[in-house]
């Protein structure tokens, strides 16, 4: 019975492209795209509290894989390749970052994303002699929407499963106290690497799926560091330690960006900035925590009445 609700919700969301126009569908794609990224980000960073800015490295690798391979093999195989490449890169990155903590980890991951961008650029410029690549795939926005929806559902299911599985417990223990974790027999390296890789594979797929939407792929488009920053902000805003937290950060923020840029195109930055500051002050623990507090207060009032 309880499994029916998410399935129904999924079905309802899957039906959306049949009822809405191109713009709401575009919004949907944007929201799902960031929803996937933020949820995937929180898979690793939520329990461990490591703030990663490498999101766009994987996102861009996914997009580039599609751009390079789209003409060579069937689309599902392309996605599989993207996932594999993402996995390999994630394992390497994960191993390199094991000893880093705090701000060092943050900036390291940022440097990594930039390095990926520089190396791709250098390769394209010197080897292929083209910087931009074209992705002409017969994939319409509704297909992208469905794929992202599927990916989000899978990611959420994974997140849900992880929160209940041993590996999720291991990660929470590591996040709370790595010393205790190791003394309880938890392989910290293995666990962190596994989750980091899983999260990275999802990010890679998010980039791969969205690549056909832009037609034209170049490093400055798909390795845009803003993506990493927005992902972090959304997940932090929603609350990275809850299943739907990152999503609940991504949806309102995405709509907020859209609303602001539409209504205040010339003062967008200022208003957005002020709102951010306000949010930090007003919602210190994220949207979901604030919501919990609100409902808790409500329940208390009811109980008293």
């Amino acid at each position: 019975m309880i499994f029916l609700i998410p399935l129904l919700a999924l079905a309802a969301l899957a039906a959306v492209p049949f009822f809405v126009g191109a713009y709401p569908l575009g919004l949907g794609i944007g929201i799902l795209g960031y929803g996937v990224l933020a949820t995937a980000w929180a898979l690793f960073s939520g329990p461990t509290r490591y703030i990663s800015l490498a999101t766009v490295a994987f996102f861009g690798i996914g997009a580039y894989t599609v751009a390079v391979l789209a003409d060579l093999m069937p689309y599902p195989l392309v996605l599989l390749c993207a996932a594999l490449i993402g996995l390999v890169v994630a394992l390497l990155v994960g191993l390199a970052t094991l000893r880093l903590a705090g701000i060092y980890f943050v900036i390291f991951t940022f440097g990594l994303a930039e390095l990926a961008r520089q190396l791709v650029t250098y390769y394209e410029v010197n080897v292929t002699r083209t910087l931009g690549r074209y992705v002409f795939l017969p994939i319409g926005p509704e297909h992208i929407y469905w794929q992202l929806l599927g990916l989000l559902a899978v990611t959420l299911a994974l997140a849900f499963w992880i929160s209940r599985a041993k590996i999720g417990l291991a990660l929470r223990v590591i996040g709370d106290d790595p010393v205790v974790a190791s003394h309880l027999g938890i392989g910290i390296t293995r666990t962190k690497l596994a989750l980091f890789s899983l999260s990275a594979v999802v990010m890679t797929l998010a980039g791969a799926i969205q690549a056909p939407r832009w037609t034209y792929i170049e490093p400055s488009i798909v390795f845009n560091p803003t993506v990493s920053f927005l992902t972090v902000i959304m997940a932090l805003l929603g609350g990275p330690n809850r299943l739907f937290g990152p999503l609940l950060g991504a949806v309102p923020l995405f709509l907020l960006f859209e609303w602001l840029s539409a209504n205040f195109p010339n003062h967008y930055s200022i208003i957005l900035g002020l709102l951010f500051i306000a949010i930090v002050f007003l919602l210190p623990n994220g949207v979901l925590a604030a919501w919990d507090k609100l409902t808790a207060r409500f329940k208390n009032n009811e109980a008293r009445a």
Binding site: G21, A22, Y23, P24, L25, G26, L27, I29, G30, G33, Q118, T121, Y122, E124, V125, N126, R129, T130, L131, G132, Y134, F136, P141, Q210, R213, W214, T215, Y216, E218, S220, I221, N224, T226, P252, L255, L256, E258, W259, S261, A262, N263, P265, N266, Y268, S269, A278, I279, L282, L283, A290, L294
Partner: protein, 411 residues
């Protein structure tokens, strides 16, 4: 207090969603009081610098010009309507660009959409323009793919040519100078590792080689490079008379300053995007004279002179002398096509743009295969103007000054 604010915030978000939903209700042509023009341009982000010079001012200027003239006459509807603008910021992101166009097309129901700045964003927006049947007048995209893209997207129009146009014109010009004995056979090229730089260098390298030039330096540098001392130092020791940089604005300025400082003053000093910017003479000081670059204008054209004046009066600075006039001309073409069609039928307007001949600040213009083929390809700063030295179809506006004056050290 916090609860209140939190609620207000949520309400504000809700109101926004509602407003967008309401805006989606269709309005009827009969009720219309204006022609709705929409565009999403980079007001922030990496592309904001380019859009702020070549794109946004021209959109403002065109709307202002048309509205001052009373609007566009729609003979089939029997009205003359002014332009009304819906603008968004694409935040220099391809994703935002695509979605903003979807929004303009389906939510705001604008009549025409103007594209954003840059090659990448125009290519990214192509399928979306195509899907909704809007003519796409790409005034700031340089791509050799244009002939194929036109096949793919029937309503796309490409106004700024491809890398080959600029590279070949430059090589032709240099061949003449070499054959006249004005310069030696050695050329150095530095290109920015970005779409524009690579497109041009890809076209230029074989062209130079085919013309028998010796390429003693041909390297790229990453976007965002701020220090050009190593490149200039190396090139200055190679004995070249010709230095070519397919560069982006900040690099264009930095390369100039570095060359002046290093007293590397080749006979031909050619730079990429930004050379034609009105700010360039401020940056280079007296040394801007004789610098060549991509683009150019006809200094004898009264239409261009008037355009420069109107532009300066409205936005407070002169336009750039490459893509600005082309962008403005593309808008003139759009306006004239609308008037000729007499209503707001997008495909009819697109067909008219493709086939008609138009009177623009660039002179009489007729698109070939949806592309503007009449382009200024090489320009040079002469007497405070960035004059065209080579044109794909017409004659040069001025003869090149070779060698350029030696650098004057800044005081």
């Amino acid at each position: 207090m916090t609860t209140l604010s939190r609620r207000t915030l949520l309400q504000a978000m809700g109101t926004g969603a509602l407003a967008t939903a309401l805006a989606s209700l269709p309005t009827f042509a009969q009720d219309r009081t204006a022609i709705r023009i929409g565009y999403a341009v980079s007001k922030t982000g990496a592309n904001a610098g380019g859009a702020g010079i070549s794109t946004i001012p021209n959109y403002l200027l065109w709307v202002d010009d048309v509205n001052k003239a009373g609007g566009l006459e729609l003979s089939k509807l029997g009205v003359t309507l002014k332009l009304e603008v819906t603008e968004y910021d694409d935040r220099s992101s391809a994703e935002e660009t695509v979605r903003a166009i979807e929004r303009l097309a389906t939510q705001d129901n604008v009549d025409f959409i103007l594209p954003s700045w840059g090659t990448g964003s125009n290519l990214a927006a192509g399928p979306t323009f195509d899907r909704f049947g809007f003519p796409q007048l790409a005034g700031t995209a340089v791509t050799d793919m244009a002939p194929q893209l036109v096949q793919r997207w029937k309503n796309s129009f490409w106004f700024l040519g491809g890398g080959h146009d600029y590279a070949n014109a430059l090589v032709d010009l240099l061949v003449k100078q070499r054959d006249a004995g004005a310069i030696n056979n050695k050329v150095a090229i530095a290109s920015v590792a970005d779409g524009f730089g690579i497109d041009l260098s890809k076209a230029a390298t074989p062209a130079f080689q085919a013309a028998g030039f010796e390429l003693v330096y041909d390297k790229t540098y990453p976007l965002g490079t701020s220090d050009f001392a190593p490149i200039i130092n190396e090139v200055s020791g190679l004995g070249v008379d010709t230095f070519v940089a397919f560069s982006y604005p900040p690099d264009t300025f930095a390369l100039t300053q570095q060359a002046v400082v290093a007293n590397f003053s080749p006979k031909i000093f050619y730079l990429g995007v930004g050379t034609a910017f009105p700010i360039y003479p401020n940056v280079a000081g007296p040394n801007h004279n004789g610098v060549m670059g991509v683009g150019g204008i006809d200094p004898d054209s009264e239409a261009i002179a008037a355009y420069f004046e109107r532009h300066t009066a409205l936005v407070g600075q002169a336009p750039d002398s490459w893509a600005s006039a082309v962008t403005y001309a593309s808008l003139e073409i759009l306006g004239q096509a609308i008037t000729r069609v007499g209503d707001l039928d997008k495909s009819a307007v697109a067909a008219e743009i493709a086939s008609g001949e138009f009177d623009t600040i660039l002179g009489k213009v007729k698109l070939v295969d949806n592309q503007l083929r009449a382009l200024w390809t090489v320009g040079q700063w002469q007497d405070g103007k960035f004059v065209g030295l080579a044109h794909t179809e017409g004659k040069a506006a001025r003869e090149p000054v070779v060698p350029k004056p030696a650098w004057v050290p800044a005081s």
